[in-house]
Symmetry: D2
Subunit: 164 residues, 4 copies
């Protein structure tokens, strides 16, 4: 089953600039991570934007919705910063209800993949698995769990996603 | 939903002995890997054995079946060497048919977790996700995919699991 | 030969705060790095401060000079941020001339050790070696080279230390 | 000052074959390690052989001596398996005495670089530093120390190099 992956940035893909000592975006690490995971799924990757999710605008979210709409794949994975992942999932769930035919899973990371001990590889394996088997609708995959959109928030004290 | 994890060894958990230059087993890395993945699932881990799967006997497999039977959890993940994972899945599927009430997922790794660039973290995220949502039966989760027992083999030339 | 190591902070020891997405200091990684390097030298480690070297004041530098003076060891290694390492070396060289009896080597890193692919481990091995064999005086050890204080600058375009 | 590096194999450069689960040699990691260490020394690298040092013959050692003799550089670093490093150093010291004009340093690793937490990067930084400043003669650089040839052995219980 073909899976579409959309990259939007987030901690997942942040790099360390050794001249300035700050974090920045360059290219996505998704292809390298899929290679590392020996992934043999039929995936195609598209980078929509490279943003810290705190900087994501309504226009950015409209673009994500539009791109999910026009692609033929019914299974879509979106990598996204964790800070506003819940908000983007909410916007997507209006366009792609459980009664539709698309399964969309958002995931991200608390630690940049480039920093070695990342949760990104674990989350990528998790999100790619959920997107294959969950029924239509919009979900967040974090902390080994999946959460239907509208029933999840990020706890900012602990960095953990929780159902409510 | 509580998930039981059984550790049986395999490449997943191999270490490098720097005095002899050979690979060996010490303790499982599962707790560390779950911590790294920021996993918040309700899991309990039990080490059944620490074997290269080429050395696994019928008695070992009988023990795995027995332990899957006696535990209360209906969702069970087994880490296993890839060489005979298909064989153990076959034995398990006789005891736990699709008409039963237990979902059992086997996974493993091609590269030891201790060697840095492992597929183990990706596979663990994947297998933990599949075990939550797949219907009762026995499955192998490798290469980002899941395979119902009895319809999968390991291609020894490529190291990849394939449906047949 | 006993070697004294003074930790002052710098990129070497920066950590990633996964809740805020920013870099900060916690504890030094020196003991772990020495263990990783299978180092068997007779070293004692003292943390003087944990600073980004851009924030280091004259008072901080006076403290470093004082601590180098009072310790009995004649071989001293100082880990330091690269941005003002040259400045601290200059201050130290006034107190510890080539005609004295103390060999002091400053080193640092361009990438935090905690971010996996650091130059810190290489630089630590290098600086610990130079400090054992160089004659009295103050030196910077970076990029595999050693530079006597007063004849070195950091090229801010390339991040490389150069003799002049 | 130009430095010649000769690669002879050893744990330093071992890889993990994920199809067979065994260790083997492919290409040397030296260029990547020098890049990681931000090394800016004037080095040229030549691979003489790729051997587990237990398999190194008298002919192999004669070749190493010969190559050290014909190269113009007076500073030479040799990467070597730790098991017979002491033996090769002894052979070299007959050809390159302290009264000569060549400084030769042998180093190696207890853990393969490819396995993540290697001592190789630390040892490489150390050996490259010693080779620049030690007087003519043959040395082993391990565990952060340097040992003149003929006064060092590897303790096989602890994996540590010791003076005697």
């Amino acid at each position: 089953m073909p899976i579409r992956i959309f990259v939007t940035g987030g901690t997942f893909d942040k790099e360390y600039n050794e001249l300035t000592g700050s974090l920045f975006f360059k290219d996505t690490h998704l292809p390298e991570m899929l290679r590392l995971g020996r992934c043999r799924l039929d995936v195609s990757i598209g980078t929509l934007m490279m943003l810290d999710s705190l900087e994501m605008t309504d226009a950015d979210r409209a673009l994500i919705v539009e791109r999910c709409r026009v692609e033929a794949e019914t299974r879509i994975l979106i990598t996204h910063g964790t800070d506003t992942m819940v908000e983007t999932a909410r916007v997507l769930s209006e366009a792609f209800p459980a009664s539709g035919h698309k399964t969309i899973v958002l995931t991200g990371a608390m630690v940049p993949y480039a920093f070695g001990s990342s949760d990104g590889l674990f989350n990528l394996g998790s999100a790619l698995s959920f997107v294959q088997v969950l029924p239509p609708g919009v979900y967040i995959a974090m902390n080994g769990k999946y959460f239907p959109s509208g029933r999840v928030r990020k706890n900012r004290e602990t960095g953990v996603f929780e159902e409510f």
